[in-house]
Subunit: 361 residues, 2 copies
């Protein structure tokens, strides 16, 4: 039923399976090899491996070599200091110190959780940052505290506004996590574009076409050959795709992300960002301040079970709930190793050798 | 370019223009005619007229006669008490007292704003409620306080999960408002389905077809003849429409709304609700706790101007920002009167006569 999407998956031909623990050691070693302090390298490695375990390969360990080059060439300031610029009992404005985005976002969510534990709600917005990887990781940090977690991040333009023909917005993702009881936690992690930009880059690397509706030319014509690079010659569609199908909604959500991440922090909205810059926003909600946590989780379980029991469309295997595919991937990959795309596997090993750090994979 | 959408607009043939002030008096009189206290009737009338002024006709004054019947037949408990069930400095769980939904949502947003003014953030979730009308109204209440406002509400099933063939979710809208300086405020108010359900009902009343992508049969076939009533024979698509175009994202956002409105309040998620029940969630964020409000607004202005300046798709007049169409409608309608669909105009007058209250329109 979903041929194009299936062709974007890693398989035995285009990837090699590596144990998650070895990947963690490799990523951390590479980051330390370019001067990242141990604690920051460990946090970043943990988040990257988590993305790879959950099947979010576009945001996984394959990016570690690239980050290490950005650290080496000074694009990222490392070591960095995450500074609190302003703060109240519930809120904080942080600077990521132009360093590794993961570190600012991780600290931001820690602070949101601390504040929510005391007051019920915590919110941070983080300027001077870079790529944070899988936004869902930060939202999920709230789960073990019986909190709802939300995280968003903006990015340089890759997506057009509704009715527009040029990229003005990042893929500006929204991540939302809420704890269940016996069922799996609800974890939504979505770009506000039709598809995450990494999917188009992956299609290009794998040499497979993309479905109509993901991207258009500057003249408004549908693109099926995955384009390379950024620029004015092509742009991605906001979620909804066309005016009649609700492209103003995906567009509006993207601007909402820009407001919370870029404008509230002062770090800048999408079209003000330099390549590789990302501003981030996090929030935690302490469920116990509203109602009994066990009752909340029991109702989550009821909801998730009812959704799973929905009769499926002809040709579909069944109805999923946000987080299901990632949890399935994590089960498989924890047991059988994480598939790493061949070219990225080679690159990680080369980078380790180049930096004269131990090769673990 | 957008024929189907144009045909859903009110015009000189299918509607009559009435001054907003007269509509307000008429709606308030009808609600008072069935025993609604003056202050509650005035709040509800204000919100309904605001929706009509902003061109959100599906959520406007045309619904007042229907609400009055729900009050009369006891579906809505009137007079109602909005009760605080639990509360902290930043949060509150409210009961709408099974009364008019507008009153609970309005009180909820007032409380969110009060708490945000003191602590930075305020959040309320409201159970035992009914229809709240245009969700954007509540989000916009934050604007005059230099706050960001957010409001969501769930509803009985009308929308299918991604890959599902039966309605399990309400159209579960998200409204988000942030103040600009010289430019118009940003006001996003969107159903998480491809289209608001009122648009399909309107198409049916006006006798015009709907575009493919809005709704499908239980067998997964596209529907273009607007269906009547609810039931298992048809369902609306979540934003994104198909798996490849991101239907799991609209679906995920809809469940997020259900969690914040239905599960966090304990009032129930979509498929637990009785017809006409709606649980609601509101939030206010005090911008000044993060950064200087004038700086925030100046950056909002920059962003809005850049978005407006985006080169448009061939055939499109220009790029809009969320809230533009509604602000345009409000300018026109404030000056020239609010168009009320002929059948709804007749119904309002008949209802006023029936209740023996003054006829203002």
């Amino acid at each position: 039923m979903f041929v194009a999407l299936e062709r974007l998956k890693l398989n035995e031909t285009n990837s090699v399976r590596i144990p998650a623990a070895d990947l963690h050691k490799q990523v951390s070693a590479i980051l330390q090899g370019v001067g990242t302090p141990v604690d920051h390298a460990e946090i970043t490695a943990k988040i990257l491996v988590s993305a790879s375990l959950r099947g979010v390969d576009t945001h996984g360990v394959g990016n570690a070599a690239g980050y290490s080059r950005l650290i080496e060439n000074g694009t990222y300031t490392v070591p960095q200091t995450v500074e609190v610029i302003s703060e109240t009992g519930t809120t904080a404005l942080l600077s990521c110190g132009n360093g590794i985005g993961f570190i600012g976002a991780h600290r931001g969510m820690e602070i949101s959780i601390e504040k929510a534990g005391k007051t019920g709600l915590g919110m941070t917005t983080i300027r001077d940052g870079h790529h944070i990887g899988m936004a869902g990781y930060y939202a999920m940090m709230a789960l073990e505290h019986d909190m709802i977690g939300i995280a968003m991040t903006n990015a340089v333009p890759a997506v057009r506004p509704a009715l527009g023909a040029r990229s003005m917005l990042g893929t500006n993702p929204i991540a939302f996590a809420a704890p269940a009881g016996e069922e799996r936690d609800f974890v939504l992690d979505m770009a506000t574009s039709t598809v995450a930009s990494g999917k188009i880059a992956l299609a290009r690397r794998l040499g497979v076409p993309i479905p109509e509706g993901w991207a258009i030319t500057a003249e408004g014509e549908a693109i099926t050959e995955p384009p390379g690079g950024m620029g004015d010659h092509w742009t991605m569609n906001p979620l909804g795709g066309t005016r009649e199908q609700g492209s103003h909604k995906g567009y509006g959500l993207s601007v909402m992300v820009d407001i919370l991440c870029g404008v509230l922090s002062g770090g800048g909205f999408s079209s003000q960002l330099a390549t590789g810059e990302n501003m981030t926003w996090t929030m935690a909600i302490d469920i116990s301040k509203f109602r009994d946590v066990d009752d909340f989780k029991a109702m989550m379980d009821d909801m998730i079970r009812e959704l799973h029991a929905t009769p499926a469309l002809p040709g579909a295997d069944g109805v999923l709930v946000a987080g299901d595919p990632e949890a399935d991937a994590a089960e498989d990959r924890t047991a059988n190793g994480v598939p790493v795309e061949n070219s990225q596997y080679d690159e990680l090993r080369r980078r380790a050798v180049q930096l004269d750090v131990e090769v673990f994979i």
